[in-house]
Symmetry: C5
Subunit: 356 residues, 5 copies
Amino acid sequence: MRYISRKKSKDVGLPPGSLVYQGEKRSEDVKITVIDYSEKSVQEMVTKNVEDCFPFKDQPSVTWINIDGLHKVDIIEKIGEHFDLHPLVLEDILNISQRPKTEDFENYIYTVLKMFTYNKQENETNIEQVSIVIGSNFVISFQEKEGDIFDPVRDRIRFNKGHIRKMKSDYLAYSLIDTVVDNYFIVLEEIGEQIESVEDELSKNPDPEPETLQTIHGLKRDVLFLRKSIWPLREVINTLNRNESRLIYKTTQLFLKDVYDHVIQTIETLDTYREMLTSMLDLYLSSINNRMNEVMKVLTIIATVFIPLTFIAGIYGMNFEYMPELYWKWSYPILWMIMVSASLFMFAYFKKKKWL
Amino acid sequence: MRYISRKKSKDVGLPPGSLVYQGEKRSEDVKITVIDYSEKSVQEMVTKNVEDCFPFKDQPSVTWINIDGLHKVDIIEKIGEHFDLHPLVLEDILNISQRPKTEDFENYIYTVLKMFTYNKQENETNIEQVSIVIGSNFVISFQEKEGDIFDPVRDRIRFNKGHIRKMKSDYLAYSLIDTVVDNYFIVLEEIGEQIESVEDELSKNPDPEPETLQTIHGLKRDVLFLRKSIWPLREVINTLNRNESRLIYKTTQLFLKDVYDHVIQTIETLDTYREMLTSMLDLYLSSINNRMNEVMKVLTIIATVFIPLTFIAGIYGMNFEYMPELYWKWSYPILWMIMVSASLFMFAYFKKKKWL
Amino acid sequence: MRYISRKKSKDVGLPPGSLVYQGEKRSEDVKITVIDYSEKSVQEMVTKNVEDCFPFKDQPSVTWINIDGLHKVDIIEKIGEHFDLHPLVLEDILNISQRPKTEDFENYIYTVLKMFTYNKQENETNIEQVSIVIGSNFVISFQEKEGDIFDPVRDRIRFNKGHIRKMKSDYLAYSLIDTVVDNYFIVLEEIGEQIESVEDELSKNPDPEPETLQTIHGLKRDVLFLRKSIWPLREVINTLNRNESRLIYKTTQLFLKDVYDHVIQTIETLDTYREMLTSMLDLYLSSINNRMNEVMKVLTIIATVFIPLTFIAGIYGMNFEYMPELYWKWSYPILWMIMVSASLFMFAYFKKKKWL
Amino acid sequence: MRYISRKKSKDVGLPPGSLVYQGEKRSEDVKITVIDYSEKSVQEMVTKNVEDCFPFKDQPSVTWINIDGLHKVDIIEKIGEHFDLHPLVLEDILNISQRPKTEDFENYIYTVLKMFTYNKQENETNIEQVSIVIGSNFVISFQEKEGDIFDPVRDRIRFNKGHIRKMKSDYLAYSLIDTVVDNYFIVLEEIGEQIESVEDELSKNPDPEPETLQTIHGLKRDVLFLRKSIWPLREVINTLNRNESRLIYKTTQLFLKDVYDHVIQTIETLDTYREMLTSMLDLYLSSINNRMNEVMKVLTIIATVFIPLTFIAGIYGMNFEYMPELYWKWSYPILWMIMVSASLFMFAYFKKKKWL
Amino acid sequence: MRYISRKKSKDVGLPPGSLVYQGEKRSEDVKITVIDYSEKSVQEMVTKNVEDCFPFKDQPSVTWINIDGLHKVDIIEKIGEHFDLHPLVLEDILNISQRPKTEDFENYIYTVLKMFTYNKQENETNIEQVSIVIGSNFVISFQEKEGDIFDPVRDRIRFNKGHIRKMKSDYLAYSLIDTVVDNYFIVLEEIGEQIESVEDELSKNPDPEPETLQTIHGLKRDVLFLRKSIWPLREVINTLNRNESRLIYKTTQLFLKDVYDHVIQTIETLDTYREMLTSMLDLYLSSINNRMNEVMKVLTIIATVFIPLTFIAGIYGMNFEYMPELYWKWSYPILWMIMVSASLFMFAYFKKKKWL
Ligand SMILES: [Mg+2]
Ligand SMILES: [Mg+2]
Ligand SMILES: [Mg+2]
Ligand SMILES: [Mg+2]
Ligand SMILES: [Mg+2]
Ligand SMILES: [Mg+2]
Ligand SMILES: [Mg+2]
Ligand SMILES: [Mg+2]
Ligand SMILES: [Mg+2]
Ligand SMILES: [Mg+2]
Ligand SMILES: [Mg+2]
Ligand SMILES: [Mg+2]
Ligand SMILES: [Mg+2]
Ligand SMILES: [Mg+2]
Ligand SMILES: [Mg+2]
Ligand SMILES: [Mg+2]
Ligand SMILES: [Mg+2]
Ligand SMILES: [Mg+2]
Ligand SMILES: [Mg+2]
Ligand SMILES: [Mg+2]
Ligand SMILES: [Mg+2]
Ligand SMILES: [Mg+2]
Ligand SMILES: [Mg+2]
Ligand SMILES: [Mg+2]
Ligand SMILES: [Mg+2]
Ligand SMILES: [Mg+2]
Ligand SMILES: [Mg+2]
Ligand SMILES: [Mg+2]
Ligand SMILES: [Mg+2]
Ligand SMILES: [Mg+2]
Ligand SMILES: [Mg+2]
């Protein structure tokens, strides 16, 4: 999950509202999905032709238009015209490194947030920006590419599970946001498991691998990036819940408060992760230090014991003619005794100093 | 006390209010205890059958229903129906990694907090989530499993100690919260003693064990975890005390203010612990550094003294035919004198540099 | 000054207002001192019998009752009854690790703060908790044991110095708080001098003692502990000064503002101390590092110069039959020249690298 | 990009409003550019004579006067007189280390901000202070020297792109600020690429160059400097947008809100960069540590294996007359066997300790 | 600039308003200077006799009384009486470690701040506390000793430069504060130059001197001390500007806002300095580490190459009777070849590991 959110500088100097797609080049078609429902009926449609979904706007039923792909700017432009969206909103939809936010334009509310999809098979987290426009009887969601986490919501509409079919567009928008937030927990669980496995390694292995350092740093970056993406959601939901828009009904606010709780819980978990990772980094570095200490002790013990002994041996390896000790009978065994007792003494000294 | 609060992702995509037990699998029965009391009388009952406690609801006496076990979702559901609790409240009761909070639903107040039970015998801290629903004449407390710290409160009711029998349900709820907070001090004392024992070791032993590092890190995690669990209680009690609910009487607010003081004291103690642990970690690392220094000094002194001497001995161990010194009579004793004075000089040098 | 403020867990589960003395066991008598004064007259009394001071309550003169000792719970209880103090206040008086605070109970104000008494002879700082109850015509002060810093206030009353005899009980309470805060500066001066002496040592001595580390850590703990004890005083004085109680007159508020200034000054000095100690710790650790560097350089220079030379000597110490150099006439002096120039070259190299 | 914003102390003690140019000495002429436009027409003029642009003031069309150069104080003075600017505003225009701010003087608004121009050819970022005075029908922009990033705005006016020709002076000012903020992204992209290239090096190369340290520190300084220059822009735009001036129309406020979003995004990106750089510094230092560990291990292994062996060889190099082993037939091969097995044993030991 | 602001504990226990001079002992006379001016005329006077300046109080012209010296308490007392200053204000004037603050006493405003005077010749920064009492037609400034930075203000009054002669006492007070703040920039420039020179040394010299560490720490302390002295000025000027006193006219408020800007700029510059110093400390420590690494590499290379070779030489220095190699003809040259190729191999190995 390497992803620095950075507004590409493609639209520098252009007049405001200039529509420039800020993401990677794509060539596939833009897929447009419509689900139109009321308490009684559901109707679905998939098309490439954006005009196909305009007629739904004038019916009292709730219409959810989902756009998969932002690279065809003219589609965004046509939607903007038909649903009367402000050019700056369209610009924000195309700027895929937009910070999560909510803006109220009386006739509609514009909300943008980050969707994390954890792919178990490839052990990869995919990040997409989702823009949600909430109108009185429609919701338009814009995604960067096909594939999302909203199928449970679609099923609830299709099979009339829960209250969703009885509620208005605000409840649909809540359901989408709630699903996005629920999926944060899946990504968190994944990261939590990785953190615990590294922690296990650190507490068992006194000499951790250098790669562990890279893993900890990688996890730290993921956590920081997630935190940065999720933190503004507090404000997003608070703004929706502040009771000022006629589009958000009181019944939905209680549900939004529940999502808010989950966002707080996500952020607190990320903070805990961050503290754990910092602590683990300290532990790693201390282990390295402890290890170095041990290495140095071995070197010092060996050198301290043998260097003086080698010196003594060197003395009697000298070729002076007049060295009386050389000719004594007991010199050699006495020297051995001296050397053995010197080493024993040193080992005792190291023992006392607890180096052994 | 290893416990990362992490909402399990079991209910991702479910409609809000879906009741899914988020904890470990359990098979024992759910134990339901009822204590019904007024100033004059007390009545107790233990049952497995949730319907048994419904009749108490309609009496003016205060009824305390305690549920030990959240794994049978249908029991929670029946209580929810009978006492008219919001589905999101029921969902929160089952989500055992809920952040402490208070929510006011006019007819009842929902409060959730963390209960720490320190078990002296097994030197273990047990953590349970306690949900408290405060109604006008009842209190329902939900715990994860049997066994709690509320026996002193039960005794006060049974034996009419203090004012509890004269007061309403709000005072009972206060008594439960007060008992939970009082028990935080027991856990804090335990941690404080461990911290002091590590500190003692650090100040006495110039060469601390590598395990000390793991102990300090473990204590730090415990402190962080406790802080995270207790910190939101400030807001919990403030919300209860904010004078807005008709369920909390003025007489009880003074007592809640007293609990608030204790929560603040707990948090400040935890902050002090955290600072002490950080300081102890620094001390540990500095000790390691100091120790390494000492090891290096020994190595350097030995090597600096003996390596040059060995070199000199090596010189006169050479087999050149023409080395006049070899045949002088006083070479050997003179060499010894040179070597002895060289080492004395070096020791004096090290003494001056304070390495000895 | 080793003192972790930790509410002892002696009253866990007791009903609120249960009076349990939380401090160490004591056996001496509780000393009760009364000073009763008006502009015209002063009257003093010392007693062990708490009932002796009750008659003063009904006179219009200001009565200062000072209790030295909290270990006889019945005395506290009788005072509580006679002066109509709330049970929770009595509980707080006995809880000697109470956080400083002020509470307004209409008829009286309860204030608790920490008194630091520096004892020059024994170079020791004594900490006591002082509770002050301010009534309309009385002040009751509770201390843990005999001995305090209030003698200057007593003398001002006895000898009619300053305005104290013309003022009400609020001014007496101010005088006590002011004296407590003034004494913080004495403790601060003491710590400041210790910090400066350690700093002097650090800047003069390139190889600081390991004990310095312990001293710095000890000072840091003292500073943190003082900060924690003094910090809440800001709120204490603000609450007194907030103009809401009929017991605090406007004339006294200006004086309380002056104490507030001093509290802020104390906290800022403590913050400066903290920053200095952190900086000194860095300096200490860097010195250790620098020293290690120096040690390693000596080792490396000696080893780098002599190990190759010893090798060369070893070569010509070999006993091969066919080593032509051994029989040349100038081998030995030429070898010396080679070895001397090699060492000179190495010293030049080290000089260039600035290792010498 | 080395640039410490530091008000030069040239005007110490002068009365307020004294006009002293605070920047480097310059000798070139000051270039004055005027663009005057309405929906229907555009008129341009370049001059050195400041009086030439005064007549435009009295026409209803929007007049943009751009001053390139602050070193001729009399020009600033004349503009100040003619457009009735406060002496303190003129002083601020000349103080090129002014912190970004907005001040409302009823008849005009004074805004000052930092313009960053990234020069791709010379890989250099140029910083200029831009002061903008917004009047009812004019905008005066003051720059330190010729060359800026406003050409796209000029083109939009000349060729009637976007809405700019239909709008008032407030929209022109917005366009200038928007262009400045857009250019921040270009500088950010540049820094981001450098950070990523350093990060790549760090994750690939286990032994990073010492220069990497300097690069990381340099990038950190750039990021801190940018943050300091951009951070106050939040307040600048908020003040403009606070709906209080009659000079800022409601239609423009929505556009200012959009710039505000971009400023926040810039600051968050800079915060991410800062965290990444801190993390990279840790990684660098840990790599150095790991490397040292490896070096020490090699030394220790070699020394531990060969020092004892050399000692044994030294023993049998002694010249004692009575050393029975010397005359045994199998001494030499047996010794070899002992030495080989000793080294094998040591290698096994190191293997077990995972030093190899 | 070594200066810990610490209220001397000389007045512990004294009644409030007791006048005790808190600074060092001084014996020189107190110098009193009066400048009395209106738009038309100026009158100056220097005296030791405080009563001489009392007549000026009753004239409508603005009177500036400057007191150089606080060690004669009776002078302060007489001024206090004549100008009706509160005893607590007099106490604050004498307490030369007063935190900067402003207090409004309806008839006069009391402001206290720190004056820094940089002395170029002696490269020393002098710190003095300046108290300013602003009355309706007078300003009294109190300094610790003779010598200040207000001569430019005196000249503006004498020679009628700027608007000062046309304005009231509030503008005079502003001029004094402005001059104090302007001089902060001179001290900042001085520190900035020192920081840059240390930074230059660090980036050029890979092996910085140990003194650099002390210099960085000294600069850090200066910056922290300045920050602590200047930070409260924000509040000081805000309080003056809050439009509540009848003594501060609207015309002066704009000028005070300008000083406020400069105070903010000072604080931000100090924050930048602090960050730079922290960064430089890291750089210093990393350089030390890098250096140690290099030293260790040299040692390891030399030892790794020569210790095994010395062992081999030691082998053939043994005196065993039965060592066939000793008698072979080519042993010696073959051994040399082996040793040379072994060292070449090792150098290649080190080259590959990039240790060379
Ligand atoms: Mg644009
Ligand atoms: Mg936008
Ligand atoms: Mg998608
Ligand atoms: Mg959810
Ligand atoms: Mg964010
Ligand atoms: Mg943030
Ligand atoms: Mg937090
Ligand atoms: Mg759900
Ligand atoms: Mg919930
Ligand atoms: Mg929590
Ligand atoms: Mg339980
Ligand atoms: Mg309690
Ligand atoms: Mg929290
Ligand atoms: Mg209790
Ligand atoms: Mg209490
Ligand atoms: Mg006492
Ligand atoms: Mg005082
Ligand atoms: Mg505190
Ligand atoms: Mg601060
Ligand atoms: Mg000026
Ligand atoms: Mg200015
Ligand atoms: Mg320019
Ligand atoms: Mg823009
Ligand atoms: Mg800033
Ligand atoms: Mg006093
Ligand atoms: Mg004062
Ligand atoms: Mg201060
Ligand atoms: Mg002076
Ligand atoms: Mg100024
Ligand atoms: Mg401050
Ligand atoms: Mg800032």
